[in-house]
């Protein structure tokens, strides 16, 4: 897949919650083909102390208008600087990176798409592409609290959407793995797709294994190059250190060595 490095223009930057923003970038040139689940490396403009790019999941792609959307969690200096960019400003972007989800060759009919916190980011375009391909996804999202719930309308237009909150301030109290969809109803699904904090993904992978359902994880590791050159972002896959940026970030869970 052809990768580009390009100056993209900010057309929108919405603050969604205390910890998240949604940035829309536009390219003058036609964007290359981008798969759901791929990511980009964003150069943070004018931010002392931030040297490396920030790898950010691609949330949505609008091929008609050459726009690409990023759901960004505000964790440190770099992502907070991204939250402050204004329409008209330029962000130098490298994309598309990583393998993404292979929706074209998907044979599942009823997958469950599970997101923890900002881990919902790669699942939006995945849900859109699945629906386009006659697949009927269901979303199950977990957050700490009601205030952390973002983009509910946007996601619920794509597929049925269920929530858990750790403090019980909205919907089912607990973790995603406590929800009925992951327990009594889990056999309604033929695949699980999960992205979120590692302990949450591990719990989901364990459930999938017990129920013998195919499961795919989208990993989020600390990265430098994003191109498979520096070998910093490794995870043990099929028994050997493998670049999450180049060979991932999406892996079938049985290739991991998670206990």
């Amino acid at each position: 897949m052809q990768k580009i490095q390009s100056d993209l223009r900010v057309v929108d930057n919405q603050r969604l919650s205390a910890r998240a923003c949604l940035i829309t970038l536009e390219s003058i040139d036609k964007l290359p083909r981008i798969r759901a689940g791929q990511f980009a490396e964003l150069l943070v403009p004018d931010c002392p102390g931030v040297y490396l790019r920030r790898p950010i999941s691609i949330h949505a792609v609008d091929t008609e208008h050459n726009r690409v959307e990023f759901l960004v969690q505000l964790v440190g200096k770099g992502t907070n600087a991204l939250a402050a960019v204004k329409p008209g400003e330029i962000i130098n972007t490298i994309l598309p990176l990583g393998n993404g989800f292979d929706v074209e060759n998907m044979t599942y009919k009823h997958p469950l798409l599970i997101g923890g916190g900002i881990g919902i980011a790669p699942l939006y375009q995945l849900g859109v592409d699945m629906a386009k391909n006659g697949i009927q996804p269901t979303f199950l999202f977990g957050t700490r609290s009601k205030q952390d719930i973002i983009l509910m309308d946007k996601y619920s237009r794509i597929a049925p959407l269920e929530y858990t909150t750790e403090d019980g301030s909205f919907a089912t109290k607990g973790f995603v793995t406590d929800h009925v969809l992951m327990n009594a109803d889990i056999k309604k699904f033929d695949a699980l797709y999960v992205c979120g904090p590692t302990p949450m993904m591990k719990a989901v992978v364990q459930k999938a294994a017990l129920s013998q359902i195919d499961c795919y994880v989208s990993l989020e590791h600390k990265m430098a190059c994003g191109l498979g050159a520096c070998l910093c972002c490794v995870e043990v896959i099929d028994g050997t250190n493998t670049c999450v940026c180049k060979d991932g970030p999406v892996f079938k869970s049985d290739r991991l060595q998670w206990k």
Binding site: L43, L52, H221, A224, C225, L227, C230, V234
Partner: protein, 305 residues
């Protein structure tokens, strides 16, 4: 914008310009081909290669620092035979100098690895890594004493017949003593500096940022140290020097050449701007035009003092 007067020589190695890439930051070149015309590089140095497969260190291996980063990759690679069988055929016809960075845990390993690469027609040089700070036996044991450096370079020199570059560690008391020992042992060139041993701590979790606790510091933060060491080494040895350390612009590259470098390697900056090498090549040409310099070699060590 190509121009004459940018050719440099490192031993028998002819480079069309002085811009190379540093090992471990440029993969096997292929990772960058969407962003870089590889044939416009003076050369590129592929990932550190060892006799046997190495898994490298556990994740996390990287921590961002002010104006740079720490890494603790630990020479992950699939071994020289895999390189020869699977990677070399993909890169051998690229029309630039492809240099293999060779590392090892023992003199025998270095020699065996170098011998195998000696047989590859399209690899005109090796860069001997006696300075990796991230593995117990990543060569730094050899690279921190003049005797250790001399012994490994002497042995490889006997077995390897093309251009032999030796990459030096900055984690030493006197880099010039090591450079002189390496020159005496038959090296054609020295490249410097490898990463500086550093450390990062997360105060919130009270844990180290790297699985190995310490790692190698690189990026613009190390440039002043690298420049100083290139200058000192230029005044101590006669063999050509390849300057490495925080270069991210043509101006940085020119500074290294003024300090005595014949060529430069661009490393960590490739992570921030995958096209940076092309900008540096163009920028050097532009500098030469502005300063009416016909031949880049006339700038070498031309620091006005």
């Amino acid at each position: 914008m190509e121009m004459n007067g940018m050719n440099v020589k490192i031993g028998a190695l002819e480079c069309k310009n002085p811009v190379l890439t540093a090992s471990g930051t440029f993969g096997y070149g292929l990772e960058y081909q969407d962003f870089v015309d590889l044939e416009r590089l003076g050369g590129f140095i592929v990932k550190g290669t060892t006799l046997h497969h190495r898994e490298g260190n556990a994740y996390p291996r990287m921590a961002e620092t002010p104006s740079g980063m720490l890494n603790a990759v630990g020479l992950q690679n699939k071994g020289v035979d895999y390189f020869i069988e699977h990677i070399y055929p993909q890169i051998k016809d690229i029309n630039t100098n492809i240099i293999v960075n060779v590392s090892g845990a023992s003199i025998e390993d270095y020699v065996a690895c170098a011998e195998k690469i000696d047989a590859l027609d399209s690899i005109p040089a090796i860069e001997l890594n006696i300075s990796c700070p991230n593995v117990k036996q990543g060569g730094m044991a050899f690279g921190v004493t003049p005797n250790g450096a001399e012994s490994v370079v002497k042995a490889v020199r006997k077995a390897y017949h093309k251009t032999l570059i030796v990459k030096l560690s900055p984690n030493v008391t006197s880099i010039t003593d090591i450079a002189k020992a390496v020159e005496g042992a038959g090296a054609d060139s020295v490249s410097l500096i490898n990463t500086l041993l550093g450390m990062a701590i997360n105060a919130e979790t009270q844990r180290p940022e790297l699985s190995t606790i310490t790692g190698g510091l690189s990026g613009p933060c190390v440039k002043p140290i690298a420049l100083r060491m290139v200058w000192q080494t230029y005044n101590a040895v006669k063999i050509p020097i390849i300057g490495i350390g925080g270069i991210q612009s043509a101006t940085d590259a020119i500074e290294f050449i003024l300090a005595g470098a014949t060529a430069v390697e661009i490393g960590t900056a490739n992570f921030v701007d995958p096209n940076i090498t092309m900008k540096v090549v163009d920028g050097i040409a532009d500098y030469m035009q502005r300063h009416k310099i016909d031949n880049i070699n006339s700038l070498r060590g031309a620091l006005k003092i």
